[in-house]
């Protein structure tokens, strides 16, 4: 089983299986934020989202492959839906979680799912149930110290799993584009950069963008994708899209994966057959 070391003192003796790292991290952040601010509308709604994510994964994976699978990624999707969806009703939480998971089994390209599941679920909810649900954007505490802690823990964790460059590229691009937007809109630069200091972006930049399953492999490619997302987000923001980052990832993410595959195929086609065979054997 592949394992990944946690930070600091933990790395000396304790290791955590890779598939449990993200669930533990997001659970820790959720608990810290909820204890600090009570960010959750209710535990019941969070549990609804987790339950439906896990159930959907369990059933669909069994139906499609005939096997049971580890449910940690479903748990992460469920917990993300539980945090991101905002509604006084219960069903949007269940629906978002179920759509997120189901999208993995339907929207596939060459055996790989194209969309970040939670991102897809959230965007779907915005489009199909906007009169019953919204997405976390302005609702959460904004205490400076809590924000620093969440960013620090998140960034260190990304560094450990080699995804830090994605978030840093995105943040740098966002700030530059915030300045550009300020020139267009005439609004204060701080107003344009403000969303980055809020909770929606903490989840977006730390978790959603960096999901290993739906990010390209090369570091250069990852940086290019992060920059592109920020660029498209700027365009969407200039058109007053409240959920611009989700839309941008929704559009850029799959395109990036397809382009990566095309490049990969082209490389393979250009290589002599014996090299391919050797590469395959190795």
């Amino acid at each position: 089983m592949s394992k990944v070391a946690t930070t600091g003192f933990l790395s000396k003796g304790i290791t955590i299986p890779k598939q449990y790292f993200a669930p533990l991290l997001i659970t820790g952040i959720l608990l810290a934020a909820h204890i600090s601010f009570g960010i959750l509308d209710s535990y019941q709604k969070l549990l609804t989202a987790i339950t439906f994510a896990v159930l959907t994964e369990l059933v669909l994976h069994r139906v499609v492959t005939g096997k049971f699978r580890n449910l940690s990624s479903a748990y992460v999707s469920g917990i993300s839906a539980g945090i991101l969806v905002r509604s006084p009703l219960f069903w949007p939480f269940a629906l978002c979680a179920a759509i997120s998971i189901a999208s993995k089994y339907v929207l596939r390209y060459k055996g790989r799912h194209l969309f970040n599941p939670t991102n897809f679920g959230v965007v779907a909810i915005i489009f199909i149930a906007s009169d019953s649900a919204a997405v976390l954007s302005i609702q959460w505490g904004n205490n400076m110290w809590a924000m620093f802690v969440i960013w620090a823990v998140g960034l260190i964790s990304l560094w450990k799993i080699n995804r830090l460059n994605i978030t840093l590229t995105y943040i740098a691009s966002f700030i530059v584009f915030a300045w550009v937007r300020a020139q267009f809109t005439g609004d204060p630069f701080l107003a344009e950069v403000a969303p980055l200091t809020g909770p929606m972006y903490q989840l977006f930049a730390l978790f959603m963008m960096t999901d290993p399953k739906t990010t390209v492999k090369s570091r250069m490619g990852q940086n290019a994708v992060a920059f592109s997302i920020a660029l498209l987000e700027m365009i969407l923001r200039l058109n007053e899209a409240v959920y611009a980052p989700f839309y941008a990832l929704f559009i850029i993410g799959p395109i990036a994966l397809i382009i990566e595959d095309q490049i990969h195929q082209r490389k393979l086609a250009n290589k002599p057959k014996d090299e391919i065979a050797a590469a395959s054997a190795s």
Binding site: P88, I128, A134
Partner: protein, 603 residues
């Protein structure tokens, strides 16, 4: 077809059905919707009532004007200056007919006191009676008012809360008012959006609770800083101070906020109301806070209050509390609490709260559950006043909810810019300079008020488009009033930066009713805080209402307590709990009548 193909199709169908589920639910609801009759008689036959707008017909022509504030915040003036339209009802001259007071909010504008002529028309006499000219440069502008007989002389006195210096007037036998602001000992300046008369210590004198919204250091016409906005959208800690002013009995008040335990938070209070929620005999206080959790303070024997927000279940989820209204929604002798919040499709879905006490709720173990979703009164829009009242006299409380924030240029929207800044860190959101300019854009404007009709079986349905009350101004305050004493709850709706609207209510003639107009003797003369319980022995049914010193948002309804009875022809008894502790019972009262009841001296 091979098995793999079948599985693929199944998974795709499952996925598509998930995506179509919300549309299917909407379609199902639209199939259930009834066709609305097109004449008033049929509407009354079906819904039990019909609202007809009669403002001009009865002589009421009043338009609220919002204030122009310091030029430093001119770019967001419409959203800051978004409150101030209010209404409060009282029988000012004791002629038996309800009168009402309206506030205006721009320097130089006049408030209005409409006196009921007894023939169904009104006349504004605020000027001649000395309560019109309150919006004077340097003194702040009016935000609302509440009536209460503070000196127990039998005439209702007037308190006007402002963004500025609050004003207090004694009613001189119903013909004139005497301003006693300077000697009353009230706060010199505060940005208040709510005030409630309540006798918290049951000494027979009305005390006054005042809720602060913006910090009291803020003078909106001479800003020293632009760091005046909330420091968080959900956990703001820099709101205005609240005050509990104890009535000394000589026209003066003493600030007892700290010693009574009401000074422990700095939330942004927008609305408050008081009622005895746990049957302790002392009046409790509920405060709806913007940018934070709501608060419930339980009265401890008239000495202090304890913050029971969390222990009772209402103080956990921060929303944008805008209004507090009490009512026995379940008709089981317990008061529920309705609090409006904000629901804007696709952006912010807080949902309104209907806090219903658990059946076992006792004085020591009061607990509430939010049943707004279960009962169907959750999704409003940008809510202000939410008032529980029986519009069709069927014995079940209905709900009128005022909606709409800033209606400006049509087909424009400020929401995107709003979300940009309020999602940010406290150092960004707190400074008005960081807020994008509104530039004439609409912000949750042109929203229609909701009228939810209670079917008595645990569901409310929205009927505003059917019963004649659909109004899409930026409504703020709602007052129930029986203009012509015919036993129907008419309504006054005060609209921000717009005309006041008055609705005459036509109710099914076979729906009975009963009203009680109380006058305290040992208790405060306004009888604020008294509860009235109707009891039917045969089936154990009972229903209660309280005499209110102000509720909803910037509103005060007619003092007389009104009950719809539907076809019920007999009430076994009426139990009145006076604030003094006196308990009075009236057997088999006559129905379809307003009962004027003075508190007995020795009960």
């Amino acid at each position: 077809m091979n098995k793999q193909r079948v599985i693929q199709i199944f998974v795709i169908l499952f996925f598509v059905s998930l995506l179509l589920a919300p549309a299917a639910m909407k379609q199902f609801k639209s199939w259930q919707a009834e066709e609305v009759p097109d004449n008033a008689d049929e509407i009354i036959d079906r819904y039990g009532f019909y609202l007809e707008e009669v403002s001009n017909e009865i002589g009421v022509d009043f338009t609220h004007v919002r204030p122009e504030l310091d030029s430093k915040i001119e770019h967001i003036n419409p959203q800051i200056a978004s409150v101030g339209a209010s209404v409060s009802v009282s029988d000012v001259n004791n002629d038996g007919y309800p009168d009402f007071y309206l506030t205006n909010s721009e320097y130089g504008t006049q408030n209005a006191l409409y006196i009921n002529q007894g023939d169904g028309t009104f006349e504004d006499r605020a000027g001649e009676m000395g309560v019109a000219d309150l919006n004077i440069d340097g003194s702040g502008v009016s935000m609302g008012s509440v009536w209460g007989d503070l000196n127990n002389d039998g005439f209702e006195d007037l308190f006007v809360y402002k963004w500025g210096r609050p004003e207090l007037f004694l009613n001189d036998s119903g013909s004139q008012f005497t301003r006693i602001t300077d000697s009353a000992g009230l706060p010199q300046w505060m940005n208040a959006n709510t005030a409630v008369w309540m006798d918290y210590d049951n000494d027979g004198l009305l005390d006054l609770f005042l809720g602060g919204y913006y910090h009291e250091d803020v003078d909106f016409w001479n800003l020293e800083t632009t760091r005046i906005m909330p420091d968080s959208y959900e956990y703001a800690t820099n709101g205005g101070r609240n005050f509990l002013m104890k009535n000394n009995g000589d026209g003066t008040f003493t600030d007892v906020t700290e010693e009574t335990g009401l000074l422990d938070t700095r939330r942004w209070s927008l609305a408050a109301s008081a009622a005895d929620l746990n049957g302790s005999g002392y009046i409790d206080l509920v405060v709806a806070n913007d940018y934070g959790v709501d608060e419930l303070y339980l009265n401890q024997n008239g000495e202090t209050f304890i913050n029971a927000s969390e222990s009772t279940g209402i103080g956990f989820i921060p929303k944008s509390g805008m209004s507090v209204s009490f009512g026995d929604v379940m008709n089981r002798g317990q008061l529920s609490i309705y609090i409006t919040n904000i629901s804007e499709a696709g952006v912010l879905m807080q949902g309104n709260n209907l806090w219903v006490p658990s059946r076992q709720a006792s004085a020591d173990e009061l607990e509430f559950q939010n049943l707004a979703g279960n009962l169907g009164v959750e999704i409003g829009q940008w809510g202000y006043s939410g008032k529980l009242l029986d519009l069709n006299n069927d014995g079940n409380l209905d709900l009128y909810v005022a909606n709409g924030f800033v209606s400006d240029e049509p087909n424009t929207d400020y929401w995107y810019d709003y979300t940009k800044v309020v999602g940010g860190n406290r150092n960004v959101i707190i400074d008005a300079n960081n807020w994008p300019a509104m530039n004439g854009r609409t912000f949750s404007g042109y929203q229609t008020n909701k009228i939810w009709m209670n079917d008595g079986a645990g569901r409310f349905r929205e009927v505003s488009s059917a019963v004649g009350g659909a109004l899409n101004l930026d409504s703020r305050a709602i007052a129930a009033i029986d203009i012509d004493l015919d036993g129907a709850q008419d309504m006054i709706i005060a609209n921000q930066n717009g005309p006041v609207k008055i609705y005459k209510n036509r109710v099914r003639e076979d729906h009975n009713w009963i009203s009680f107009d109380l006058e305290g003797t040992a208790s405060n003369r306004s009888a604020i805080g008294a509860t009235i319980r109707l009891v039917w022995d045969e089936d154990g049914r009972q229903v209660i209402k309280e005499v209110s010193g102000g509720d909803a948002f910037s509103s005060q309804s007619q003092r007389a307590v009104h009950f719809g009875l539907k076809q019920t022809e007999r009430i076994d008894r009426v139990e009145i709990s006076w604030p003094s502790g006196n308990l009075q019972t009236i057997e088999n009262p006559e129905i379809n009548k307003i009962h004027t009841i003075a508190e007995p001296q020795d009960v």
